[in-house]
Every structure is written in C-alpha cells, then in structure tokens.
Homo-oligomer: 333 residues x 4
C-alpha cells in the first residue's frame, strides 16, 4: 500500500503516522517529494484495513498495490488448481460440462435428463433442490426430496451431483447428498455461508454475484479457502448492467482475468447469463474459445412445462448437438 499525504503535512505528523502503522506490524518507507510525501508500506499488508489509514486532515489518497487475497492468488500458487470430483478432473486444461434441469421436479424427470446428458457427454449432473426464487409465491424447490431424487439419478448414471445450498443450516444435509456444493450468485457475499462450506471437504462451485468485481469474487473464494477447503471452482453467470435484452450481461473477459490473477478453475453458465436458450450455443462456444474450464448448462426434457427457467433450457437433442460442437472446438483450441 502507498499512502499519499497532503501537501504541507508536518514532520511531526508524519512521525506519528509511521509509528501507528508500525504498530500494525508493517514497516514504512517515507519519500518526500516537492509537493507531496508518500509512505510506502512494506510487509504483509493483507490484513491491514485500508480505512484505518485514512485521515481527513493529512491523507490525500490510499493506493493499493498488492491484491488482498493470498490463497486464491496465482502469485503464490503459480500452477493451475485441479479439483477432483469422483475421479473427474476440473481445471488444468480439462473440459467439464455440468448439465441438468433448473429444478428437480420428479424422480422420472431427473433420471431421464441425467441419462440423456450423460449420453451426450456431460460430466456432472446439475439440478436444484433448494431454489432461490425472487418471489416467495413461486415454486421453492423440493428440498430434501429433490436431493434424494438426484442421488438416485446419480447412482444410475454415475454422474456426480452439483446442487445449491442456500442456508448455513442446510450445509450438512446437502453435503450428504451432493458432490459439489453450489453457492449461488445471491449468496456470494453471504460470508457466514462461505465459512461454513469452507469447513466441509466438498468441492465448492462459487458463482459470481450480480454486481461483484473479479476482486470480490476472489475474496469470497478466499473466505472459503481460509477455512481449509481449497477445492473452489469459480463460475461466471452474468452481471447486472443497463442492458435489458439479455437477463444479465455475460462477462467473458472474466475468464482471462481469473486465469491471470488466480489458479482456480472457472466455468461459465450461459443459461442464466442470457436467459434465452438460443444464446446458449454461441455463448458456450465463445466461452470455450476464451479458455474456460467448462460450462454449466440447463437441460430439460420438457422446457415448456418446466417449473422454472424453461425459456433458457435446452432440449436434450439440442444439448447433444452442442456437446459435439464444443468437444470439437475444445480439441482445436
């Protein structure tokens, strides 16, 4: 960190500031310019709360130099993290496709969809049992019953399960059934939940919040990792902008940003990002071309009667074609 002092700050004040910062365990290098004095903070500034360096009377600006995350930081962990889930490797050049319905509706439905996406080459079965819905009057998911149905579909097909956990109180029960715990976009900054899943030994799929910067996403990963769980997979699912044609705006430059700043794998969810099934294929291809580690795609055998998010779900046949296209594309890239 660099603290830029206001013009005419006295030597006495500077000495006091240096002393205060030293007490935080940080060394300070003072540079006096013609107009401004600059304090360079030397040491591990990760735990220094930036706001404590401000001082209305004497401080002009506080500038950060280092990224505030450490465990998620590629600088300290140069090689790609590979998260292994029941033998399937996520990250490190492998292509992972998570597919399935927005919500589990019936045992028949989830088993049917699981079989079909497996056949098309998907690696992981997605499906919602606990659903975060904008309205309390909409279908909220089948809960525990849904988990059991997914488990059955998983046993039949051999596909590992990824499903969302929305509450601290549900972490244990969801972890009993799922192979990957999903933290939804709305809970990306639910720090209490992040800590809790950080104490499980399950892989965690962390979705980017609707208005989260890449730095905040990595800080949320850091919350999980700082509790001991290093198996974090990041997921971009669209951010909120002024554009209303698509449900959200898919930010594919996040892929490159994450690859540069972190060693964690990143997958893309074009279904939620666009909200339109017709956009799923082009955005899937773009994701793979940009270097994503995989995709999360909604597939439903009867989108028109889906209990949620029908308009963005692919039918199994379309998903099959998509898989052929992206597998070919991935081998070229």
């Amino acid at each position: 960190m660099v603290v830029v002092l206001k013009a005419k700050t006295s030597d006495e004040v500077i000495a006091k500031m240096v002393e205060r910062i030293n007490k935080m365990g940080i060394r300070v290098q003072v540079t006096k310019g013609e107009h401004q004095t600059i304090l360079g903070l030397i040491g591990d500034t990760k735990s220094v709360d930036e706001s404590r360096l401000h001082d209305e009377d004497h401080v002009e600006k506080v500038l950060k130099i280092q990224e505030p995350y450490k465990l998620a930081n590629r600088d300290f962990h140069p090689e790609d993290t590979i998260v292994e889930v029941k033998g399937h490797k996520i990250g490190g050049g492998n292509l992972t496709v998570m597919a399935g319905p927005c919500s589990v509706e019936t045992e028949e439905q989830i088993i049917e969809v699981a079989k079909q996406v497996k056949l098309s080459g998907a690696n992981i079965l997605r499906g919602g049992a606990f659903k975060p819905r904008t309205s309390p009057y909409n279908f909220q998911g089948l809960g525990l019953e849904g988990l059991k149905m997914m488990k059955k579909a998983s046993e039949i097909t051999g596909l590992p399960i990824v499903t969302e956990v929305m509450s601290d109180e549900d972490v244990d029960i969801v972890a009993e059934y799922a192979d990957i715990l999903q933290i939804g976009a709305r809970n990306m900054s639910n720090f209490s939940l992040l800590k809790k899943v950080g104490r499980t030994n399950k892989a965690i799929l962390l979705k980017r919040g609707m208005s989260a910067t890449v730095q905040e996403l990595l800080m949320s990963a850091e919350y999980i990792m700082s509790e001991g769980n290093k198996n974090v997979i990041l997921c971009e699912r669209g951010i909120r902008t002024f554009e209303t044609y698509t449900r959200n705006t898919l930010d594919l430059s996040l892929i490159t940003a994450v690859k540069e700043l972190s060693h964690l794998p990143i997958i893309i969810d074009p279904s939620h990002a666009t909200g339109k099934w017709k956009m799923v294929e082009p955005m899937s291809k773009a994701s793979i071309a940009a270097g994503a580690d995989g995709l999360m795609i909604e597939v439903h055998n009867d989108p028109q009667n889906a209990l949620c998010d029908g308009p963005q779900s692919l039918k199994p046949e379309k998903f099959h074609t998509l898989m052929e296209t992206i597998t070919k594309l991935h081998s070229v890239i």
Copy 2:
C-alpha cells in the same frame, strides 16, 4: 399479465394455451388483432411464474401489469405502516435517527457513543457485532460479546438497538439482544435468512442490495412479511454504478418510488452510500427533504482509530450539529 402471441399462431394452439393457463387457476381473455393475438390473464397472477408462459414457437412477449408483491403493496394497504419499537414510532411522518459506530469495539466506546448520540437526539442505537467484511483477514466484529456491550449501552441510555444478523444460526441469539434486526445489503436476497427473521416478532431493517431494483427490494420485504412479520423498515444505502468517486451511488429517488409502491417506512444510510463523512450532512438533508422517514448514521468518538469505516464516521460534535439541522429541516418539510 399480457401474453403477446406471434403472428400466425393457429386457433388450435391458442386454445391449448388458454387451457394450460386455466389449469393454473387463471382466466384468459383472447383479443385477436390484425397482426397479433393477445391473451389477457385475469385473476390473481401473483403466483404465476412468468417463465412458464414463454414458448419459443408461439409467444412473442410476456408483459407484466401487476406488481408481484401483495403484502408490501400500497394498493392493498393504502395507509402508511408505522413500526413501533419500544414506544418509538418509525414511519407515518415521524423522524427516526439511528446512530452509532460501525462496530462495537469496547464497552466504554459503545456506552460513550450511545450517551452522546442520545444527547443529540438520536432515537435508536446502531452498532455492529457480527460484521460482513470483504476480507476474511479483516476484523469480523466481537459477536456475542458485542451484543452484550450494546445491551448495556441500551440499558443505560434507554435507546433501542439495531444490529445486523448475518446467519440463520444467529437469528435467535441476536433477537435476544436487539430490538431491530438488520439484514445487510449483501443478504437482501438471502431468502433463507429473510424467512427466518420473518418468523421472529422483531422489527426488521431491510437494506437494499447493491444492485437490487425497487421491485426486488419489495419482493424481499414480501418474503419477510409472508412469514407473518409485518414490521419491515426499508433502507437505501447506495447502489453500485460505474462512478468511483463515492463508494456507492445514493439513489434518493427510491424514497418516492417506495412511497408510491408501498406503505412501508424507508430510511437512508448516507454513511455507507457515500463512504465520506463530508457527504453525510448534505445527503442527510437531501434525504429528509425528499421525504425519508429517517436516517442511519455512523458516529464514532475516534474515527481515526475506528476498527472499520472510520472515513465515513462523524465525530459526536458534528453529529450534534447535523441533528440540529435536520430536526429544523424536518419541521419545515
């Protein structure tokens, strides 16, 4: 809701659609135009999931007419809701000021600040015990110890307490000490937490999420209210935009929007919105002039050494002057 069909949709298809919608308990009025047929849905469409009306082949657009919230809707509850907390009335023309430090640090600090803000005319003591911090390496609040310290300050001054609850698992313990449970911006769409506080009998201060629309804010209030707790106070604390000079962008037009759409009280938090103590006074005055029901303001007796958010905290003397100004302004407005 209005469903606009694509040109050339056959009568047979239309009949099937009407049948499907009727099964949801909704009546349909069909209008055939020259180019387009429109289905008007009649009845309580609150629980109709919009996505279920889409149909790639036949539906052009689905347009909402009614707001999807009912309990929070002024149409169904024309008079202002007044939330009473230990005899103090929030809403309905009363001016409420919640003041105190970002976090409780020591017993002396919270008691000292409580006495001072009480003296200046504040009605409710704010203070953080469980703190949502972007970094896991920053101070996370004193937790239960902090609650106990606030309680003591409350007993001494008679000021009711508002404090944040971040986790389902903490709701009971926080409810034991606090008079108003705060749902932070990051948890506005933590539906599990909303339902849980909806089952308490405490007043709830619901902060707007960083990228939440007014409709989403009211839907979150609806989540709480649909569990039985009608004592919801809304709070604007700035939204996320491209502007970086202020921490967030304070959206004061929300006050008028809420007054038109809902009967719930709304207060403004200029401290978090701007991140700069110098902006707190002008934005407080603007809030009152725009018709807000109150303010939430950070006050710290030693901002420079505050464990969090010092730069946006007012010193007690400045808070005192602010209270004089806004009290006078409120009586004029």
Copy 3:
C-alpha cells in the same frame, strides 16, 4: 503520478525509465522497497498520458494522484465561479431556476409558458428547438423557427434563454438567439462540439453524460474552458443504472463532489432524471437541500398533448407551488 514497478526490475531498466520520463519534462523520485520499487513523478503531470507509462514487462501499476483538470479545479481556483447571464447570477449561493417546455411547439405555447414560469419566479426560460430524439421518426424540434419563437417569448418576459445545440454547424445560429448554450448528455463527450462552444462568449450548460464519472464531466468542462470560455454551468440529469423504475438514477451526491473538486456551479434536472412528474417536487427539494445552485424543470401547459416528454412535465400550477416550496427551503438552508 506514482509508477509501481514489478519485483526484480533491474537498475538498468529503472535508469532507462527515468530517462524516458524526464524527456516528458517530469522529474522522478525513485524509492526502492524490499519487494517493489516506486517511481514518484514530480512536476506538472497534467499532460502526461498515463498509457505511455505502462510497460508490460516492468510496470505493475500506474496510480494517479492529482486530478487531470486544472481550469475546472478548485485547488487552483478556490472561490466559487459565478456565471452572469443578463444580470442574473448563477452560482455562489444564488438560486437559479430554469423552466419551460421540453420542446417549443408554437409561438403561443412558448409565450404562454414563459409568462407563467416568470410569474412563479423562474429566472431562465428553457425550451428545445433542436431535439436529440432516440428515433429518427419522432418529432425532431422546430429548429430555427423554434429559436425565433423562444426569442419572442424572451423579449416579452425578459427571461434569458437556454437551449440545446447539437451540432458544430449550428453553434453560430443558436448563439445568435440563446443566452446559454446547452450541451446535452449525449454530447458530453462530443469534444469537437465542446471546443466549438468554448470559442463562443456564451454561458454553457454542460449536462453530465449518462455514464460519465464526475472526473469525466470535469474534463469535458476543461475542454470548453481550455478554449477560453470560463462560463460553464454543470448539470446532473440522472445516470444509467440497472434500475428501470425511474428513467435514470438521479445522483445527488454529485453536488457535493462537484463542490469539493471544482468551483463551477451545478444545477439539477429532476425532470429528465426521473421521467415522472410526481418525482420532480421531492427531488427538487432534495437537490436544494443538498446544496445545488439551481434546478432545470420541464413545465408544459398541456402535458398530455406535449410533443415530447409529457409524462415528466409539470403543469404551471404545480410549478407555482414547487417554486414557493423551494424558495422557502433555499432560505432555510
């Protein structure tokens, strides 16, 4: 400016960089830390193009310290600028109200509205002759005829005129009729137009672009001022965010930001910001309470038949009441 070098940058490279920067007329102070070397640029860095300091191999970050505008900067011009228009003073504690219809439609209409707003206490007549409309098929304004009608209304009432100029080629003709040239939000970064109006001796009302930061707004003012015209009045008219309930999001914290960073007057346009006449009064009051130098308000004698922006226009009677309210409020503040 501060240039943070990457770890392990050699002394030779550092020496070359210093030499390059010196050639730009800037002195450099080198600080070597344990992990990082920092170059502090000393001198007038206003004309240093930040991008020229980047260097993929050796530079970690370039951090700005000084604001890049000079003529618009309060640091170099501490007292408030007061713009005088036909004897009326804008800025410096005076309250200015610009009122009138979105577009001039007929001579009768503009004269009628001018008389009424004058009677209610408005200081300046607004009205559009050249209109920036999203659709080429919508009414584009009366052009020169509109200017002539406004002139007549101005002569009758004595109110100076503010009207928009959209094109370099129209600057001369608009300057012949108007007292204040308005640069619309869509043209805030039309640098060619900014330079052109900077060469007139008319007052300029510069509206903030829909996604412009406060710094960019001040840089656009700098464009005008650097051509010799110091009579710039800034105007906030709402920014573009994800919120769709209001047409734009009115950012009142801009008032305080401008007051801190610049000496130029700032007025608020609540009509365009909200798009709803019911919000005009509360947002006008909030603006005055926050310290704005004035307001720009749409008034139409027959909003329902207005050729543009009827829904956000006040009827003359409502404007009259508003003027009474804000005049009283301004005297209290």
Copy 4:
C-alpha cells in the same frame, strides 16, 4: 403497442383516448377485462411517440410490442446485409479484420504497420487521425496530415482505410480519404453526425456507446439508414459497468442479439473493450466462436512509445500469430 388503463376508467374517457390515438393514424382494439381495460394499437406504430400515450389519471402502463426500427430490422429484411468496400465483403459469413495503430503518428509508422498487418492477412487498415481524447491536454491526432499518411499507406498496400470522424464539419474531408467512416462510441447518439454520414455513400462503422442498449444501437443505425445510406457495420467495443479490472466490459452476447434483431454485420473491438493486450487474443477467439463478422484490432510496431493506447496494442508478431489462430478457428466454426 398496448396501453393498459387504470381500473375504473370510464367508457367516456376510453372513447376519447381511442379518438386521440385514431388521429395519429392508428387503429385501436379495446379489450375490457374484469379489472383492467387494454387498448391494442394496430398499424404502423413506429412513429408513435410513446410518451404521448401516457396520462397520469387513466394510464397504468404503456407496453411496446414491436421494435421501433424498421430499416435495420431483420423482420423486414431477412437476409444478411453484406457491405462491400473496394471489393472486400463484410458480413454474410466472411471474416473481416481491421488492424492498425490507435493513432497515425508518422508516415513511416503507418506504412510499416500497414505492410505488416497486410502480410498477416488483415483486410482493412485502421488508424486515428482525429482522436477523441478524454483530456484536452493529450495528443489529439494529426488531423488532415494523418489522413494523407493513411492514404499513402493504403495506396502502397491496397488496404482500404477505416478512420474516425468526430465532427459534422469534418465529414467531407474524411470521406475524401477514408473508405469506411467510423462513428466512435462517444458519438453514437450524436444524431446530427449520424444524419450527416447517412448522406454520404461511404460505409459506416458504428460503435456502440458505452451505455447503449442493443435497441439504441440499432436506432442509431436507423438514423444513418433513414438518410439513405444502408452500408452500416455495427461494432461492440465494451460497455461501462462497475468492473474496473478491464477498461470496459466486452458484451459478446450482443453478437447473437444483433444477429437475431438485425441483418447488419457486427464486428468486435477487443482492444478498446479490455484495454489489455493480453486479453485481445482470447477475446478475439471468443468473438469469432460466437459468430462475429470480424474484428478490429490495435497493432503498433512500438507499443511502449505509442502516442496513445500502447498497453492494449499488439506487436506485429503477436498479431501474426493471432491471425493464424482465428483464421483456423473461423474455418472450423
């Protein structure tokens, strides 16, 4: 358009509204529901100004059904538009790459870069002569001299020229030298300039504004086309969001949106969107994979000494590799 009336609107009022709308040349279909009456507007509503349908007392909502652009609309022009520039075809499945420096600096530089990008397979030479710079103190481009230098480079290499025109007054002179006139993001809603270039017979490259929706972009194209010039090429160059890691956020879903809504070609500018040369390759690949008609890429033979935008410019060797990659990718897609 559909106008939803408020509950209890009397038959008399409805009759008057219908009469008013009929006068605009539009027929109206009235549907009376239990709670609400809906007016369906039938006919060419393209020129109906939505705001004229609002009426505070009786209208609940005005809902648009048809898109407001016609010439740019795929519904009325199903096959892809192919813009031909000196024999090179843009759109319709062809891959177009526009490459060159941010600004023309010297004759040697532009000729050198032109030769190199030509050799690598670029189809069109880009370069700035009139530069829109945020600061009036930064390099503003060489103007006419720059155009002449580009012309020379064009004559030597045979590459057509694309360059920005910033002002109505410069349209003629720029059109004399350039083959494609670029409208920059800051001028996307400079309607006066759009009309002017719409009256030339040059191809127009229209960049999306920093906060423009897809509909607004197409309306700006409509402005150009409505003046007679149908040779419009759209260009996405990143939108403004809260994310600060990249300069802008590249919105690749725009490609699919444009392909669905319009017949115009769309190319992507990853250099300006990301501001980082390292992101140019992955985002170029993603653009092609998503179906873009081409790319616009900054190439500079000495990025570190470039007079603008060095950090986002590729060196000729890197551009060469990129061309190989995307040519291969394009043939696969």
